[in-house]
Symmetry: C2
Subunit: 460 residues, 2 copies
C-alpha cells in the first residue's frame, strides 16, 4: 500500500473514532455501509475496507459476517495520565529504578544505570532486524529450545573462554535478562529464611530482588580490590550464608575491580563455608583490561557466572544468560519452563547478529574511549563542587562519589528530582545506611552542564 | 558489503578457525600479519581485516593494538551433542513441555500446545520487523516503561472491552510471557504453604509452576461448562485456598467453555470465601464466539486476567500481560523490576505492529476455519481407532480424548516417543491421576497420517 493511501486509511479510522467518542456512533450501533461511508468521506471503498478491518483488529468495532460492522459494546475508560515519576515516593531500593524507567525526555538522568541511546550500536541493530525479517518461519513463530539459541551459547562459551572461564555451550542457559538470571538462580538455590551476603555498597536492585525471595541479607564492606576479606570471614562464621551475590569485572556502584589475591581468598573461604557465589558480569564489555573473575579461578564449581547485553548492545532486546556447573543445568531449565515457559528466538537471534557483526567490536572500542574521556571530565566537574570520587575506576561508566560533609544524599536526590534531575543516592546501595553521603554518577549521562549548575545551586 | 565478499570473509574466518582447531595456530600465538595472510589466502587485505575483526568479536582471537592479533588463550570445550528428548525421563508435569521444546524436526508433535509455523502470520511479522528496523534509537536501545508500551496497553484495554472486561490501560502490565504473568501474580499473592485450586484436568504447566511456589495444590473436577460447582464449594470449605487458576475462553486441555451460570456461581463462592481467581485467556483469538470471562462478570475485583500472543501471533516474540485491579499495579510493577528489571520495547512493538495490521484479523478468520476443519478430520480419525473425544469443542486446537479401555496414557506416550511421536498423556494434566486413560491431541499438529498409523499399531 502506498504511503498516501495509508494516510487516508488512518484519517478514515480517526474520523470513525471521533464519531464513536462523541457518541454520534453509540456503542452497539451499526456503522454505515462501506459504499455509503466511502462516498461520505470522499475516499475509495478499499480505503474504508482497510479502515474497518484495522478498527476491528484493535477491537474498536466488531465485524458480524453477513450483517456489517458494529461499534464495540463498551469503550475502555481512557487513561487519565501515564504514570510519571512520583516526587513523594520514599527513597528505597526501587526508587532509582522507577525514577529512571518512568522519567520522560525532560529529565536528566546522571543516576541511571545505562547509556544514552546515541551511545549504542543502533546501525548494527537495524541491520540485524532487517536480516531477521528474512529468517525462516520457525525462527519467526516458534518457541526456542529450552537452553536457548545454540549458536549464541557457543559464542558465549568462546567469549567466556577469553576471561579464562572454561565452559561448554551446554552449561549456558539464555534468560530474559541479567536480573532474571539472578532471580532464577535464587529460586534454584535459596529457601525463605536463608541468609545471603551482598557488598556494601552494592547494586540497589539486589536488595529489591532478595526481598522478593524473603531471605535475610547481610553486607560486607567493599574495598577498591573487592570485599573486605576479614569482614567476609566473620560474616560467614556469624551468619552461615548460602550465597554471595556480587559484580565481577566492574563493580556497581563503585567501579572497583577485584584483585587476584582477594578473589583467591574469598574463594577459599567460600569452599570452607560451603558458600555459592553469583558473579554478575554485565559490564564486561566496558573493561579496558580483564579483571579476575571468580568463575575463572573456581572452574564453575561453586561460582555461577551471569551476564546480559543491556549495557552495551541494547536494553530493548531482553536477553541474559547463566553459566553454571553441568549438573545444575537440568534443574534450572525445568524451573525456567515452569515459570516462563520457552525462550524466544527473536532476542537471541538479534543479540547474536549484532555480536557477530564486525562493527560491534569497533563500536565498543570507540565507546570505551568516549567513556574514559567523559569519566575524566565528569570527575573534574564534580571535584570542583566538592564532590569527591572514591576511586578512579579502570573502566565502565560509574563514579562513586562522596558529597561535601553534612549533605544527605537521599535529601539531595529528592530536591534534584524536583528540578528534573534523577540522582542515585548512596542510601539505596547500602543496607547498613553507611553510604548516606555518597552518590553514584553515570558519566555517560552526565554531559549536560545543567546537572552541575543545579548541583552547585542545591549544595550552595 | 557484497554477498561475494561476505562469502570470502567467511571462508577466511573458517580457514583460521580450522588452523586453531588443528593447533597449527596454538592458543596465545600471534596470527600472520594482514598483508601476509591476504597473500596466503589469495584474498584482499580488506577481507582479512574484516575476518580478523569478526573473529575478535566472537572471542576466537584477541586484538592487541600496536602488536597484532593473537589466538585467544583458551578454547571453549566443544559441546558433544545438543540436548535431545530423553526417552527415559519420568512422565511428570514437565515431560510434555521438555519433549515438545527439545524435539528436532523429525518428530511429530500431536501432544504439543502450539501451532505449526506455517499456520502463523509470518508475513505480518516480517513486515513488523522491517518497520522496527526504522524505529527511533530509543526504541532500539532503551528499556521500556515499567508498565510496558503504552499504545499496546491501550490496544489491549480496547480488546478486553470486547470481552466485556472494563479496564483502563493503566491496569495492564506487559510481561515476558503468559506463564511469567501467572508466575508474577503467584509471587504477589501467595506464601509458601498456601493452598491453590486448579481444574482436574488442567494445563500441566500450572502444576510445575505451583510446585516452584511451594504451595499445596488441590483440584476440582472440570465439566464441559466449567468446574463442578458443588465440588468447588466443598474444596473452599475444606482447604481455604487463596487462589484458583484456570483458563477462560477455551479450556486447556479439554477445549470446554465456561457457562454463564457456572461463572456466576463460582464468583459468588469466591466472594464468600475470599478467593482470588487468575483466568488465563491465551486462546482467546481462537474462539468463534466469546464465552463468558470471570473478569467481565466480576469487574476485576477478585479476578485477574492474563494473556499472551504465543498461540496465534508468535511464540518467538515473548510477550504476555496482566489485567488487574488498580491498587495492585504498583506492587506488581515493583516485583517485576526487582525480578526482571525493565520491559523491552522490541517484543511489545512487534506484537502491536502485527495486531494493528489489517491482515491479522483476516489471518485469524482463515486460521479458525482451517482449525475447525482439522478438528473434524482429527476427531474422525481418532474415533476410528477407538479414541473418543470427551466433547466437541467450540473452538481452539485441543481434543481431549479417552483411550480404549485398559490403555495407560503415560505408557502409550513413552512408546510413541520411541517412534518419534510426542503425545500429551492425561496423567500430566491431573494431580489426582484421574486422567490416566486420556490423551490431549492438538488438531493443528495432527495432520500427518503417520500419527494414526503408529497409534493403530501401538493400540493393536
Amino acid at each position: 500500500m502506498l504511503a498516501e493511501e495509508t494516510t487516508l486509511v488512518e484519517q478514515t479510522m480517526e474520523a470513525i473514532r471521533q464519531r464513536i467518542a462523541g457518541r454520534t456512533l453509540a456503542p452497539g450501533s451499526r456503522l454505515p455501509s462501506i459504499r455509503r461511508f466511502a462516498e461520505d468521506m470522499q475516499v475509495s471503498k478499499s480505503t474504508v475496507v482497510e479502515a474497518y478491518d484495522r478498527l476491528s483488529a484493535e477491537g474498536t468495532i466488531i465485524s458480524r459476517p453477513g450483517s456489517g460492522f458494529y461499534v464495540a459494546g463498551q469503550l475502555a475508560p481512557l487513561s487519565l495520565a501515564e504514570i510519571g515519576p512520583k516526587l513523594d515516593r520514599e527513597v528505597d531500593p526501587l526508587w532509582v529504578s522507577r525514577q529512571s524507567l518512568e522519567a520522560g525526555g525532560d529529565f536528566l538522568k546522571p543516576g541511571c544505570g545505562w547509556m544514552p541511546p546515541s551511545w549504542m550500536p543502533e546501525v548494527a541493530i537495524r541491520k540485524a532486524l532487517r536480516s531477521l525479517s528474512r529468517a525462516n518461519d520457525a525462527i519467526l513463530t516458534e518457541y526456542g529450545s529450552p537452553l536457548g539459541l545454540s549458536e549464541l551459547r557457543h559464542f558465549l562459551a568462546r567469549r567466556a573462554g577469553g576471561y579464562g572461564i572454561d565452559a561448554s555451550p551446554d552449561q549456558i542457559i539464555l534468560t530474559g535478562s541479567g536480573t532474571q538470571a539472578i532471580d532464577q538462580l535464587c529460586r534454584f538455590l535459596l529457601e525463605p529464611g536463608h541468609c545471603v551476603i551482598v557488598d556494601d555498597p552494592c547494586y540497589f536492585n539486589f536488595h529489591a530482588l532478595l526481598r522478593a525471595h524473603r531471605v535475610n541479607v547481610i553486607s560486607v564492606p567493599f574495598t577498591p580490590n573487592g570485599p573486605d576479606v576479614a569482614a567476609f570471614e566473620q560474616a560467614l562464621i556469624a551468619h552461615k550464608p548460602k550465597l554471595y551475590i556480587t559484580n565481577s569485572g566492574l563493580h556497581n556502584p563503585t567501579g572497583a575491580t577485584l584483585s587476584p589475591v582477594v578473589a583467591h581468598r574469598v574463594l577459599k573461604l567460600a569452599e570452607q563455608h560451603n558458600l555459592t557465589i553469583i558473579e554478575d558480569d554485565i559490564f564486561a564489555d566496558l573493561e579496558h583490561e580483564h579483571a579476575p573473575r571468580y568463575a575463572a579461578f573456581d572452574g564453575l564449581e561453586r561460582v555461577v557466572h551471569i551476564g546480559s547485553f543491556s549495557k552495551t548492545l541494547s536494553a530493548s532486546v531482553r536477553c541474559g544468560y547463566i553459566i553454571a556447573r553441568p549438573d545444575w543445568i537440568d534443574g534450572l531449565v525445568d524451573l525456567r519452563i515452569a515459570t516462563s515457559f520457552g525462550a524466544g528466538h527473536f532476542s537471541a537471534e538479534l543479540v547474536l547478529s549484532v555480536l557477530k557483526d564486525g562493527s560491534y567490536r569497533k563500536h565498543l572500542d570507540a565507546l570505551k574511549t568516549k567513556l574514559a574521556d567523559t569519566m575524566g571530565t565528569t570527575a573534574a566537574r564534580l571535584t570542583k563542587l566538592g564532590i569527591k570520587p572514591w576511586i578512579e575506576p579502570r573502566g565502565g561508566m560509574f563514579l562513586w562519589c562522596e558529597l561535601p560533609k553534612g549533605v544527605n544524599a537521599a535529601d539531595l536526590a529528592q530536591r534534584a528530582l524536583a528540578r528534573d534531575i534523577i540522582l542515585a543516592p548512596g542510601s539505596v546501595f547500602s543496607i547498613t545506611q553507611s553510604a548516606d553521603n555518597y552518590v553514584r554518577f553515570n558519566a555517560a549521562q552526565s554531559q549536560n552542564p545543567k546537572i552541575f549548575e543545579v548541583l552547585e545551586d542545591l549544595l550552595g
